[in-house]
Subunit: 258 residues, 2 copies
DNA sequence: TGCTGGATCTCGCCA
DNA sequence: TGGCGAGGTCCAGCA
């Protein structure tokens, strides 16, 4: 690890160039201006910021506020350093989409180059995938009549989270959400239900069996939204479309299963 | 600004406590383990990471990869430092939702406390708001028959981006998107069109005028999706609902207007 | 505070 | 590479 305190632009350039070459993780704290041009374009006047350059090509410009960087460049970008008008300039570019981030330092207070080693993977519990596992292990969590037959079942509108039947053999589309949902989730469920309805709501094997017979008699398709809770607008939409809601919290489910 | 190189846990604690007290922006680079518990829960084993603590309560844990921190805490959280088992521990908590982030350092390589001053605001061009301005200034960009009458017009499904009439007096709902859109945007447009249709598609003044007359004869409502481009699935949905698509790129529009 | 939708969303998966 | 949807999304604006 190398750290420079208040380096001259030339000193900073030398250290930064070496660090980028060596695939180091670099932080630069200093007074700077920032310009971005690409998917949108932005300008940021003079101020003190923390700039992080990662060996995978990510670049972050952080002020003293907010979880989100005020400016950034995604991984895969190329970092380059130079001195212009006696000022250190860091430029990060990428193609597709074509975008460019320029950070010009009036003054560099500190520059650090690190070589972190990190073999560890993060394990996360409480995702939608965990919710799906819980539902498959205990389908009555959705409804006492629910019998799942497939996950990620393909439709013309995209894959359905969990697909199955009710006691009367009607197709059931289940959409899973790990948190309280708004109208968008109901719209999503609606698209899947519509698609299954259009396609006759039969599994592929059923379709083959029926092929020689009469045209498909479209079955009514049930839609169930599984989520801890829903907003008023979402509840109204669910009602409007005749969909069901199963109140399931991934955290509670995880506790019960453990 | 203060920087400690390879401090002992006690030295790090002292410096960190002072820095947090002084509302400093703090970076800690070291070998650590991370645990999160709240909306979900996660574990992260030993590795070298860069931790950023902001005076507004934001906390970021960055590895050498990715734009997104591997763990974090949003602004508004409370940071606290302590020494446990001869190791520096940083805990960031917040209520509502109740969540906690713990970072335990096996070793601190460097700790820096900064006092950044940043008065500058970022200006950004190319947002959906810019697209709206362009459409209002030149409605024929949407269609030669389009006459806007309101923005953010309220409906039971939420506010419509731009509302207006076509040449025949039919209500028009316009949904703006700054980039290529998928099925979700069509679903959104559909919800707004449905809502306006249900409500008669009249402006408030019209409704008052008509109140004494016969019941409202629901007008067919037109829907227009304004976006640079649409995916195949979205195009199919637009067609299915009889909605129009106007190809407008916010970047191109910005150039033309400048 | 909750609801709603935008974002240079990011990220992973899959065709 | 593009399409698609999840995310501890974050975030602003508004009721």
């Amino acid at each position: 690890m190398q750290t420079l305190r208040s380096p001259t632009p030339r000193e900073a350039l030398t250290a930064l160039s070496e660090a980028l070459e060596a695939d180091a993780l670099v932080t630069i704290y200093g007074q700077c201006r920032v310009a971005y041009e690409g998917r949108a374009s932005s300008e940021l006047g003079t101020g003190d910021r923390l700039v992080v350059l990662k060996p995978d090509g990510a670049a972050l410009v952080h002020t003293d506020e907010g979880r989100t960087p005020v400016n950034w460049q995604p991984p895969g970008s190329d970092h380059a350093a130079s001195v212009r008008d006696d000022a250190l300039r860091v430029r990060s570019t990428r193609a597709s989409p074509d975008e460019r981030l320029d950070v010009t330092f009036d003054e560099v207070y500190q520059l650090t180059a690190m070589q972190p080693t990190d073999e560890s993977d993060r394990s996360l519990v409480g995702s939608e995938a965990d919710l799906r596992e819980a539902v498959l292990a205990e389908p009555t969590l959705v409804a006492d009549w629910f019998e799942p037959t497939a996950t990620e079942r393909e439709t013309s509108a995209g894959p359905v989270d969990v697909f199955g039947r009710d006691g009367a053999g009607r197709p059931v589309v289940v959409e899973l959400k790990r948190r309280r949902v708004g109208p968008d989730a109901v719209g999503q469920l609606r698209r899947y239900v519509d698609a299954v309805e259009r396609e006759g709501g039969v599994d592929r094997e059923d379709a083959v069996e029926r092929e020689g017979g009469a045209g498909p008699a479209p079955l009514p398709v049930r839609g169930v939204l599984v989520a801890p809770s829903v907003t008023n607008r979402a509840a109204a939409l669910l009602d409007e479309h005749g969909f069901d809601h199963a109140a399931l919290d991934p955290g509670v489910v995880a506790d019960r299963r453990s």
